[in-house]
Amino acid sequence: MMEPSSVSFSDILQYIIMGVQSGCIYALVAMGFNMIYNATGIINFAQGEFVVLGGLLMVSLTMTLNLPIPLSFAATTLAVTAAGVAMERFTINPVKNPTVLRLIIITIAVSIIVKGAAMGIWGKNSYFMRHFSGSEPLDFLGASLLPQTLWIVGTLVLIVAAYIYFFNHTMTGKCMRACAINRDAARLSGINDRRMVMLSFALSAGIGAIAGIIITPIIQMDYARGALLGIKGFGAAVLGGLGNSMGAIIAGILLGVLEAASAGLISSHYMDAIALFILLLVLFVRPSGIFGSSAAMRLKEF
């Protein structure tokens, strides 16, 4: 481990690059959490599994079947979206008047099933995937920058743009927002709220899959990664104020940078504990998140 005194500008820059890279993923996972939370009030404990499914399916399509990346990207996203819809149809929709405890256990059960299925299909190996455009690092002010990192940031920007357009300028998006604000009122205005719930699972799974696809070339995906990715993404969602997706994006990147910096400056062995520690700290001190208004959050159930 290097001495703290030897930390240079390029080291700091390197931590920021690393942090933004993983932060984008946390932000995407957090957006997935928020979509389902807004539509249903459920925290989907299987959120991280969508990311794993996306990554592993992409590996199979590109590395084993040698399909071109754009085609595999679309096929993977569609397949995982279908998995999200299936999850809603078979496990959430049939349950009438569920308690919170039962819903939590149901989504945990789904996460175990997905994890078990992934282990059955792909085994316990971690899989390498080729980078989207070359794995030669670029030099950026003395720090090294992988082209894949640019892909990750670019994808996040595109998704955020699509997200803003969808929720502000399309009828379906506005209906979903109406459901999130007040489900009963939305239903009275003729919105099919059950369909919105299904849609939220579809979008959430799709975003999770994309997160998995773009990060896999860097981290190498394996079946067991879901839990940690999920809980860190949840940390970002809470830090940004649960339900607030713009907050989640900033919080996700912040979480990633904090994690990378403390891994570099303190110890990389405890890296995973740091994001979790931040999550606990936020939950204990300010469960409404750094961007949430505490007055509005008082109305919600913690």
């Binding site: 349950v95 405890l101 149901i106 996460s111 099933i113 504990a273 520690f277 939950l283 159930e301 913690f302």
Partner: protein, 333 residues
């Protein structure tokens, strides 16, 4: 404590007493020892989950604290195993109170995530703090327990000792449920506001029961150390917490007997599956232990979808369906 519970404990004691003669195979006896350890943790977890209505995905951490306290204090500082187990209990108790004070203010999803985060942190530390815990290579050479000068060195002795503890824990838990504290906890589950307005100190009661369940988990962890004699962070990951929740939920969240049923069934399931795989192999169907996770998930999901009160309740109902006719009114509620 009503008659049914006494009968239940009596029957279980009888089964335990004859079991070693019926099994007569150290391997299966060992499986039943692990079953007892899971029962112990699940009884505590059921008090928290089913009676107080507070979810915890962090109990693997308390099992780990008990196991590592026993392992490290005996091997590195030469403590007596009982003293080490006691120290484990104290550490778990203190940790549970410190974690519980801020955590149990949270509800539902937040509580689940916070406890999950806590358990993940403990696991990361177990792996990373190589100087203290030995990291991934773990701790070996843990001494066995001794009781009145008698070493618990055979599977039969350990079996009797662990199951005796389960019986004591059951007796204690059932009594607790029917006490003032237990009724207070059930009131918290029903409605925190109502319970608090009737004079139940909900904050203190929740922390107490969290700490109590942590102690059960810690003892189970210590016994694990002194039975297996070697530990590493592997068995104490978050998946173990999930498995514990699965056991309680499969058996039935709202009953101690359900938790015990679930713990026994799911602890024996891997054996059942490997038995099944031998049968399937004859038909050229390959079954790998890797599929166990998938089956756990499928069981948990089907129970939650179709029998949310758990298997124990399902069995009880089908029995009372034959004996009484008033089940219909019960179902109507």
């Amino acid at each position: 404590m009503n008659m049914k519970d006494y009968i239940g404990i009596g029957v279980l004691a009888l089964i335990v007493a004859v079991m070693p003669f019926a099994v007569g195979n150290d391997y299966y006896l060992g499986v039943l020892v692990f079953t007892a350890l899971n029962c112990l943790t699940c009884i505590g977890l059921c008090l928290l989950l089913g009676y107080a209505g507070q979810i915890s995905l962090g109990h693997s951490a308390f099992v780990a604290i008990g196991a590592y306290a026993s392992a490290l204090l005996t091997t590195k500082l030469g403590w007596n195993p009982w003293a080490a187990m006691g120290a484990g209990i104290v550490i778990s108790l203190v940790t549970a109170v410190l974690v519980g004070i801020p955590t149990l203010k949270l509800k539902g999803h937040y509580l689940a995530m916070a406890t999950l985060g806590f358990a993940s942190i403990v696991h990361v530390v177990l792996v990373a703090a190589v100087d203290i815990t030995g990291g991934p290579s773990g701790v070996s050479g843990i001494p066995r327990l001794e009781l009145f000068g008698l070493a618990l060195d055979t599977d039969t002795r350990i079996f009797y000792f662990c199951w005796a503890l389960v019986l004591v824990a059951l007796y204690f838990a059932v009594n607790l449920i029917h006490s003032r504290v237990g009724r207070g906890l059930q009131a918290i589950h029903g409605s925190e506001d109502a319970a608090s307005s009737l004079g139940v100190n909900i904050t203190v009661d929740k922390i107490r029961i969290f700490a109590l369940s942590a102690v059960f988990a810690s003892v189970s962890g210590s016994l694990y150390s002194h039975y297996v004699l070697y530990i590493d962070p592997g068995p104490f990951d978050v998946m173990h917490s999930v498995l514990l929740i699965t056991m309680v939920a499969v058996g039935g969240i709202h009953s101690i007997w359900g938790a015990v049923t679930g713990a026994v069934l799911l602890s024996l399931l891997p054996e059942g599956l490997s038995f099944l795989s031998e049968g399937l192999a004859q038909f050229n169907i390959q079954y790998k232990t890797d599929y166990d996770t998938l089956i756990y998930g499928a069981i948990l999901l089907s129970i939650m979808l179709f029998l949310p009160e758990g298997l124990f309740d399902g069995i009880r109902r089908s029995f009372s369906f034959f004996s009484k006719t008033n089940t219909e009114t019960e179902r109507g509620q």
